[in-house]
């Protein structure tokens, strides 16, 4: 019994410590809450993505911060659970965070109404609600990069340019059976109607470890191009199945979730020719990346395995923070400190043609457009790395915005 009490007292003491310990705030730090899923569904991306985010913030701090302010990352694991995500969010809000990034669709969705109420910026890079691009309906939510609708549009556009038109072509859309997998369907259907190509969907069950039946069907459809819409472990399986079923890698186009590891799992040589959508450039040959290498990685200030620097997801993380820090800079310039969520939002809306020193397409946000234009490009696996094959561009934004408007209207009505 005595041992039990000791244990209880110890636990309570430790709890009190963690609660009070983290509550103190410094006035000259800007807090970004990176409350992400490190342990469940998004593990394929979180680690590298988060590493990139933190390394970039370290870089800015090492370079003296912005306007006297330094950045602090509040990092927590949410395990992809809305429950834990909301707790972490409330705690971060209390600690004074002005920006939050969940990198988890369910958590971001559950937090939408809260960030709108609390006036805290939520970035939903390559996840979350696509319709949040509508800045008037979702003033504090920034998808920031191309939505899945925009990605589909870019991929379709790429096929069109390769083939001199889409007329009569067959495009197979192979996706994981989830709302994420289905998201581009309406845009593609609309395009199919407009451009006169044949479009068919093929779903495979979550988590995508096994897709052979689906691909037997795909092969018989004899598609000219295949779009694969999955994430994590399902992606290499899709590519392997596609190649096995005689679809050339050059004719496989992937959603943004296709990284170096995936290509290696498929087999470095076998995957050669595979194409994907990319929202941020890969590699370390960009000024920001060079500075990170020099100022953060080499002195040993990096937060993770230095091998990850320059990978697809690492760079997306860097870019997400580069844009956010840029927004903070603009906001501080305009309004002065201390930074609030509202100022930061306006900072975002002031961003014009920002390309993170060449790492990404030039982004421009406005009160209406929180997507930043929906730009992207196609890159191709050359056996060792992802190599861009097009310039940055955006396509069919009219159709994309129809979708955004439609869903945003639904959100407004629901309120």
């Amino acid at each position: 019994m005595r041992g039990l009490f000791k244990g209880l007292i110890g636990t309570v003491a430790a709890a009190a410590l963690t609660v009070t310990g983290t509550a103190k705030t410094d006035d000259d730090t800007i807090k970004f809450a990176l409350l992400q899923d490190f342990t469940a569904v998004y593990t394929f991306v979180t680690d590298e993505y988060n590493q990139g985010q933190r390394d970039y913030l370290t870089l800015i701090n090492e370079e003296g911060g912005i306007d006297g302010y330094t950045f602090q990352a509040l990092v927590r694991d949410t395990g992809n659970e809305p429950q834990r995500g909301l707790e972490a969010y409330n705690r971060a809000r209390r600690e004074g965070a002005v920006l939050v990034d969940f990198l988890s669709t369910p958590v971001s969705r559950a937090a939408v109404s809260r960030v709108l109420r609390d006036e805290i910026v939520m970035i939903t890079v390559l996840h979350g609600r696509g319709d949040a691009s509508d800045g008037t309906t979702f003033p504090y939510v920034f998808p920031m990069m191309a939505t899945y609708w925009s990605q589909a549009a870019v991929l379709a556009d790429h096929i069109e340019q390769n083939e001199d038109g889409l007329e009569g072509k067959r495009i197979a859309h192979v996706y994981i059976d989830s709302p994420f997998g289905r998201e581009p369907v309406p845009v593609m259907q609309e395009l199919a109607e407009r451009k006169g190509f044949e479009y068919r969907t093929f779903a495979y069950p979550s988590p995508g470890t096994e897709q052979s039946a689906t691909w037997s069907d795909v092969r018989r459809y004899r598609p000219d191009y295949v779009m694969i819409w999955g994430a994590g472990g399902g992606q290499p399986v899709s590519v392997r199945e596609a190649i096995r079923n005689g679809i050339a890698p050059e004719r496989i186009l992937s959603v943004v979730w296709m990284a170096e590891t995936d290509a290696r799992t498929v087999g470095t040589d076998v995957a050669t020719g595979l194409k994907r959508f990319e929202a941020v450039a890969t590699g370390t040959d960009y000024p920001i990346m060079e500075r990170i290498m020099e100022t953060v990685i080499e002195p040993g200030l990096g937060t993770g395995d230095s091998e990850n620097v320059g990978t697809t997801y690492y760079n997306i993380g860097v870019a997400s923070m580069a844009v956010s820090v840029e927004a903070a800079r603009l906001a501080l310039e305009e309004y002065g400190g201390p930074l609030t969520g509202e100022k930061l939002r306006d900072g975002f809306r002031m961003i014009e043609d920002y390309d993170a020193e060449g790492m990404m397409p030039p982004l421009t946000f406005s009160e209406e457009d929180h997507q930043g234009g929906g730009f992207g490009r196609i890159s191709q696996w050359n056996g060792e790395a992802w190599e861009p094959v097009t310039d940055w561009y955006a396509s069919y934004q009219d159709i994309v915005w129809e979708e955004i408007e439609k869903d945003a209207a639904g959100f407004r009505e629901g309120r």
Binding site: G79, R84, R109, A110, P179
Partner: protein, 357 residues
Amino acid sequence: MFYRLSGVHHTRYETARQLWPIPADRWQVWILLALALGAPLYMADLYLTSYMLPWLVWSAAALSLTLLMGVAGQLHFGFAAVMAIGAYTSIHIARAGWPFEIALIGAGLTAAVIGCVFGAAALRVKGLYLVMATLAMQYLVDWVIINVPAISGGAQATLQTPDVTFLFVPMQGDTALYYGALLWAVIVTVLVLNIKRTSFGRALVAVRDKDYAASIIGVNSFKYKLLAFFTSSFLGGVSGAVLAFCYYQAVTPEQFGFNVSIQLVAMVLVGGLGSVIGAYLGAGFVLLAPIFLTNAMAYAAIQGWLTVSSNLLAHIPLMAYGALIIGFLLFEPLGLAKIYDNIRKYFLVWPFRHSGS
């Protein structure tokens, strides 16, 4: 000191059968209730909204499940699906413009009816097979929700809760939502406590312990198993709706996935199968342990006590959480309720070490 058993004599059956026959227990319950009612006055909104409120709702859900698993002995690994049915029903009814009260009842009834379909499988099997059957149904319900846009809410697969009023009180703001959750937790608690001490509860226990012996004294085990599923699913469905409206303020399929079902079972088991206080303690543990561990790890890392990769840092709570569940089952299979009971017994005889025997 705290408990006085001597001098407590019941001279009427009525008093002997009351909920807390020991006056000290009654006082404790009143004090706890007063503390809960006053929480918005003295509790910071972080704790009120992030801990107290979800804890109350999950406790209500765990109580609903413990009624089924602990009292009636029917294992259920798909209870999150039942809650999902409640949440989606209520949100669709409310969005259609009906009053919130009707949405809640509708949530309960829909969950109860579909929950009985779960139960139909239970009529033939028990134990492990029931675990597997309910697990399969969880997958089925998940699939239906995800694949029917009319239910899940289209491409975004997320539905925001509309503003509602409950008994003329607008359910907006932390305080109103908190009281809503508290009210539901109190109702479920009273109901489960009363079920346990009346003929309905006894019949459920009888069916759980020995269904053949129950049948020969006139308990229709078919009917009572179904009733157990019905009642429990009703409560679970409403809990799902309350969770959606009072806490998440939005419904997405992931909120009620398979892992949530496992968490619910863990709440019931860690708390102590069939125990009311255990449901509260278990819900608190399963809900707060990962959060607490994550925060503790983050704090330790900031202080420089733990110099490991962020990846490992993120996974330590998961390991610790798994290890804690294992530890509870190994060392205190009767759960937190038993630990509470030990403490209570300690105070029953305090300042002495042992009771007479």
